[in-house]
């Protein structure tokens, strides 16, 4: 990877509020032309990081490079980026046209250029008939488009988005996901997108940065994040329902300091294997979620809705390749763990109960 491929380089960036560190020595490259999603629960520092990149806030320590330039002391307007906000941040006293042209007007771009770009962007976003309205006369989806148009018209290579879809209803959100992604591809934008919604992250991202507690848990393509979580946090955050985490002792007569992760869809009912108690069943149409308990550890199993509902006690099975091994103390993935060294837990409950 060459230097020029990196649009934004975050290098050991810390942001402290009093004693509390919202970001703790975070380092990550963000590649040019990619759709990068910052994903994490509330308070994980993802919005703080976005505001630091935008220059709306200043880091306590560390450097942020955009296109190779140290951004310390550079005002937001001079960083070559645009931004879309959660509340859309449309100026209520300006018309749609004036809102879209706001940045160009501030920069005193010539009228001819303004008109030409406005025409192109309004067409692309389907805003033509709405240009003379005020933001308060638009629906949520239309306001969202105006906010996007304002970012796109600036012709800046980087676009930062702070949960831009969270105020839309489910149907519109699904449509906008597709549209956002196609706009990004079409214009070759470098997008940094903050969300706590993993569906948005999974469907749109080229690369996901999973954050927790002011630190980066994992960086990777969506498939890698889902299939090979690097930490127990990522494992228990990604997926609905997330990966089941068992202490190894619940499944194997093996080492104590080991957590085994298995996705709900990788578990199935068998006649042999560890035995579980049924807790509840949730019917989802195509699938059924079976909540169970094994030696006190709760887990979820996903099965096709056609298969038979398990009885009060049932056996579960899984394939060797579906297992993920984590260090129980640090929560870190054990990369070269050899599962064949473990022997299955053959505690036979049948004899106790019979």
């Amino acid at each position: 990877m060459q230097i020029s491929d990196i649009a934004i380089q975050i290098d050991r960036v810390t942001r402290a509020f009093d004693r509390n560190r919202a970001l703790d020595e975070v380092s990550v490259p963000i590649r040019a032309g990619e759709f990068t999603v910052l994903l994490g629960p509330s308070g994980c520092g993802k919005s703080t990081l976005l505001r630091l990149i935008a220059g709306l806030d200043t880091q306590t320590d560390g450097t942020i490079l955009i296109e190779g330039q140290d951004m310390r002391g550079t005002p937001p307007g001079a960083r070559g980026l645009s931004m879309v906000f959660q509340s859309y941040a449309l100026f209520p006293h300006l018309s749609v046209r004036q809102n879209i042209l706001f940045g160009l007007a501030v920069r005193k771009t010539s009228r001819a250029v303004q008109a030409e770009r406005l025409k192109r962007v309004a067409e692309m976003m389907g805003l033509g008939p709405l240009l003379d309205r005020k933001p308060s006369q638009l629906s949520g989806g239309q306001q969202q488009r105006v906010a996007l148009a304002r970012a796109v018209i600036s012709d800046r290579p980087i676009c930062l988005m702070d949960e831009p879809l969270s105020n839309l209803d489910a149907k519109l959100r699904a449509d906008m996901r597709v549209e956002l992604r196609s706009i990004q591809k079409q214009l070759g934008l470098t997008v940094v997108y903050v969300t706590h919604d993993q569906v948005e992250a999974m469907t749109m991202a080229d690369r996901i940065i999973v954050m927790n507690g002011g630190r980066i848990e994992q960086v990777g393509i969506p498939e890698a994040i889902y299939a090979r979580p690097e930490t127990t946090f990522t494992a228990s955050f990604i997926g609905t329902p997330p990966m089941n985490l068992f202490p190894a002792s619940a499944l194997f007569s093996g080492p104590a300091n080991l957590t085994v992760g298995i996705r709900p869809e990788d578990l199935h009912l068998t006649d042999a294997g560890p035995r579980a108690d049924l807790v509840g069943v949730e019917y989802l149409g195509a699938d059924r979620l079976v909540a169970g308990q094994i030696n006190g550890t709760p887990f979820v199993l996903r099965q096709p809705a056609q298969s038979p509902t398990p009885r009060d006690r049932f056996h579960i099975g899984w394939s060797q390749t579906a297992m993920n091994a984590f260090d129980a103390t640090t929560g870190k993935r054990l990369h070269d763990f050899d599962f064949s060294s473990l022997s299955p837990n053959q505690k036979d409950f049948d004899h106790e109960t019979a």
Partner: protein, 272 residues
């Protein structure tokens, strides 16, 4: 059960009417006296002849045109200075962080509690030291930094969503640019409401201008009118009333014409 009976309704309407009549009576008398010859000052006759003679006479007996000019200059100057200074101060208090911010804002709130008349002597001394006694600037200077305007505008600016501020900065606005393009347009109703309070207050202000001015070139309407009404033994009530009407006419007309806008902006700014 609480219902409005016929008796209640009559009582409420009657009380309202009486209050309104009491309030309008001086003004009605002023209009009556101003448009009739001096003989009808204290005699009500529907068929009394109408005349504009009193206005001519008042206008020619005192330099009202100069007083009008002085008042207009005074009111315009105070309002302009207040809007500029207080908008800047309010923006700083609403959105910037600097040491001693809450202490300074506390001082400004204290200013709201001090009655201006208490400071008459002190202000006079200050104006003397500045060599500004008997100038129009001296009448306005003590009112430029209005605690009320700073407070009102700060409260208004604080209701502006932070994301609008952020968006403007990302789009390339400087600090002053953000103030001018975002805060000022959104603060307009509050500014209009304050402007109204300020203009009517300073148009009618009397005590301080009376003390600080002593020549025709600086005297505002209120002081000019009082001198006109007291010193000259020859003036009659009808002429004084004509002069009073003239001096208050611009404000009265303004309020009547823009009544609706005024009420709306007061409601939006939240002051009554």
């Amino acid at each position: 059960m609480i219902g409005e009976t016929l008796f209640d309704r009559i009582l409420i309407r009657a009380a309202g009417t009486i209050l309104a009549l009491l309030w309008i009576a001086p003004l009605a008398y002023a209009v009556w006296a101003a448009f009739h010859p001096a003989a009808y000052e204290a005699r009500f006759d529907l068929l009394a002849p109408l005349t504009l003679e009193n206005f001519y006479s008042a206008w020619s007996q005192a330099p009202f045109s100069r007083y009008f000019l002085n008042t207009a200059l005074l009111v315009g100057m105070i309002l302009a200075a207040q809007l500029v200074l207080c908008t800047l101060a309010a923006f700083a208090f609403a959105r910037l962080d600097f040491p001693g911010k809450s202490f300074l804002f506390g001082l400004i709130l204290v200013q709201l509690l001090v009655m201006p008349d208490i400071l008459l002597v002190e202000n006079y001394k200050t104006m003397r030291a500045l060599g500004l006694v008997d100038t129009i600037i001296a009448i306005g200077l003590p009112y430029f930094a209005s605690g009320f305007a700073i407070f009102l505008l700060r409260q208004t600016f604080m209701t502006v969503p932070k994301e609008l501020d952020d968006a403007a900065r990302v789009e390339g606005c400087s600090l002053i640019g953000v103030l001018w393009r975002v805060y000022v347009p959104l603060g307009k109703p509050a500014m209009l409401a304050f402007g109204l309070v300020s203009v009517s207050h300073h148009w009618n202000n009397f005590l301080w201008p009376l003390i600080i001015t002593n020549s025709v070139e600086t005297r505002p309407l209120t002081v000019g009118l009082s001198i006109f009404a007291t010193t000259d033994s020859g003036t009659t009530w009808s002429v004084i009333n004509a002069a009073t009407l003239m001096t208050s006419a611009p404000l009265l007309l303004g309020f009547l014409l823009f009544q609706r806008q005024f009420v709306q902006s007061f409601m939006r700014a939240g002051i009554k």
